[in-house]
């Protein structure tokens, strides 16, 4: 082993860590974001290639095979996945990272190399967190992909999870106290428990809460990677992992805040796809249906239309038609704006990605704070596939489970058009008072088909 190789390796890790931070910083503005990921990618490539030069390593052939297998599968799946399915894909890749951190911890614990108590403790902790993130992300993937249809809940679920966590921590503590090497049975138990914990923690969480969950597991994987970085004396892993851990924590908090709920509430209350038994609001009035032709006239002769997309637009794959409609309206001199709620969809910023896919320029897409005051001056608010994020009950009904959640003020618009598949309550099971307002009309049917009708009708005005 030569000093030269070691210096080269350290230097390349240093450069990689710098490029990651630089790349993430570039990603904070839409203008420079594209370059940001490329810079971070260069850092990753350099770090990976240089690692092959590390002295006293073996298993190179198998290592290369493993990289090829994982890389090719991920490359192909990443290129093919539809934009609407992006949340589950990100959950999956994130889970893989957590699993890798867990695997590192397992190898180190089985190999029993001499580590100090602090390193051993961090290694065990990183292993637990990584395994929880791995199993949890796989469950999140299964739910979003529709493989797991319902949420499993039973009495005392939180208590069982708490016991699981305590036992996992106990086994981990035994491993740390015992020191490096030995106790292979305990190592197996540790990872089995952590995996089960990840599953039981995630199963009860409903689809609407997924933006928070995906973001949380992203942060946890980052943390696990940082901890394993301490075990392997790898500064690049420590820095990159910690940066992601803290960035992810911030993002998770933003998501939870957008729903006016604490993180603990998201994780442990089990709400998210069923209404709490208490807050059943009686909504008076009736939903009033309308034809596509009438909606087209209404929108075609208005001055300002605000479109509010939700998860339903993703399900119906209606984003391209929505943009076509917006273009037709803009062509007639109507001002069209898009209003996005922070937790619309299944991951943070889900709607923005879909609209970008359809070609909607990002400067007519607005955040909640930017646009909420404008609804009062809008002639039409077109709600497509959104539900809870426009439910005025959140402002008024203290008994509602979504009370206090900041919403988009679509109800303040002069006319509200809601495109909706049927009359039933949304995925959250909460009745939406917006649908019953005097200025609201319902356009029933498949999102894509109905918007296509609107496009035709507007064009023939």
């Amino acid at each position: 082993m030569s000093i030269g190789a070691d210096t080269l390796i350290q230097a390349s890790y240093f450069v990689a860590a710098g490029l990651f931070i630089f790349g993430l910083k570039r990603m904070s503005s839409p203008v420079t974001a594209r370059g940001g990921i490329v810079w971070a990618g260069v850092g990753m490539l350099v770090a990976t290639l240089i690692t092959f030069l590390k002295p006293e390593m073996h298993n190179y052939v198998l290592m290369t095979v493993a990289i090829a297998v994982g890389g090719i599968v991920a490359w192909v799946s990443g290129k093919r996945v539809a934009m609407a399915d992006m949340p589950q894909m990100i959950a999956l890749y994130n889970g893989m990272g957590g699993g890798a951190a867990g695997a590192i911890a397992a190898v180190e614990l089985f190999a029993g190399e001499a580590h100090g108590v602090a390193q051993l403790a961090l290694g065990v902790l990183g292993g637990i967190i990584g395994s929880v993130s791995f199993a949890g992300s796989l469950i999140a993937f299964g739910k979003l992909q529709g493989l797991i249809k319902r949420s499993f809940r039973f009495r005392g679920q939180n208590f069982v999870n708490l016991i699981l966590l305590a036992v996992t921590a106990l086994v981990g503590a035994i491993l740390v106290v015992h020191g490096s090497g030995g106790l292979p049975g305990h190592v197996v138990a540790l990872f089995a428990l952590a995996l089960v914990l990840g599953i039981t923690m995630t199963l009860p969480i409903g689809g609407a809460d997924m933006p928070v969950v995906i973001s949380l597991y992203n942060a946890l994987t980052g943390l696990a990677v940082a901890f394993e970085g301490f075990v392997l004396d790898n500064a690049a892993m420590i820095i990159a992992g910690t940066v992601v851990g803290s960035a992810g924590t911030l993002l998770t908090q933003l998501m939870a805040k957008a729903m006016n709920r604490s993180l603990a509430n998201v994780l442990f209350s089990g709400f998210g796809d069923t209404a709490a038994a208490t807050g059943s609001t009686e909504v008076k009035g009736a939903m009033k249906p309308i034809d596509a032709a009438d909606v087209a006239v209404m929108m075609g002769y208005s001055e300002k239309v605000i479109v509010v997309p939700g998860y339903g637009m993703a399900v119906a794959q209606a984003q391209h038609k929505v943009w076509e409609l917006a273009q037709a309206l803009i062509g007639r001199g109507v001002a069209v704006k898009f209003a996005i709620h922070p937790v619309a969809g299944r991951m943070p910023g889900h709607m923005n990605v879909l609209l970008a896919e359809a070609g909607v320029p990002y400067d007519i897409i607005y955040d909640q704070e930017e646009i909420n005051a404008e609804f009062e001056t809008a002639d039409v608010a077109l709600v497509i596939g959104a539900n809870d994020v426009v439910n005025p009950v959140a402002r008024t009904d203290k008994s509602s489970p979504i009370y206090g959640m900041p919403i988009l003020n679509a109800d303040k618009a002069k006319n509200v058009i809601v495109i909706k598949r049927g009359q039933g309550a949304g995925f959250s099971g909460i009745e939406n008072a917006l649908f019953y307002l005097d200025n609201t009309r319902m356009l029933y049917g498949d999102g894509q088909a109905k918007v296509a009708e609107l496009v035709q009708a507007v064009k023939t005005l």
Binding site: A16, I21, L24, P30, A33, R34, G36, I37, A40, M44, T48, N59, L62, A66, I67, A68, G70, W75, V81, M83, M89, Y93, N94, G97, G99, A100, G102, A103, F110, A111, G116, A118, S215, T221, G222, V225, A226, E228, F230, N234, M237, I238, A240, G241, V243, V244, A247, T249, L250, L254, I340, G349, H350, N352, V353, A356, P361, Y362, D363, D367
Partner: protein, 96 residues
């Protein structure tokens, strides 16, 4: 090599860096940012490679192999989807 308080300093500074770097990100970039940070923790690949390089028993090699496959998936998949998403973001004012 990196131990004790030096490690703590690195940890603390990196945590603040992460917080600062993304604290003013607009909502429209939340997904690419999450996906991008998802890619960045793909650096776990380097660790998995080191663990595999040191592994000696078949059990260790087996676990490390799985670790490297998963880590490579994280890094490559994270990059591909982030790049695909960012490619789509366009402004209405001129195109580049």
């Amino acid at each position: 090599m990196i131990d004790g308080f030096i490690a703590l300093y690195i940890f603390m500074l990196a945590a603040f860096t992460g917080y600062e770097v993304i604290s003013r990100v607009p909502v429209i970039l939340h997904t690419p940012l999450m996906s991008g940070s998802n890619f960045v923790h793909g650096i776990v690949l380097v660790g998995a490679m080191v663990a595999m390089g040191r592994a000696s028993t078949p059990l260790e090699i087996g676990i490390a192999f799985v670790g490297v496959v998963l880590a490579a998936g994280n890094a490559v998949g994270g990059y591909v989807v982030t790049e695909r998403m960012l490619e789509m973001f366009k402004s209405s004012k001129g195109k580049k």
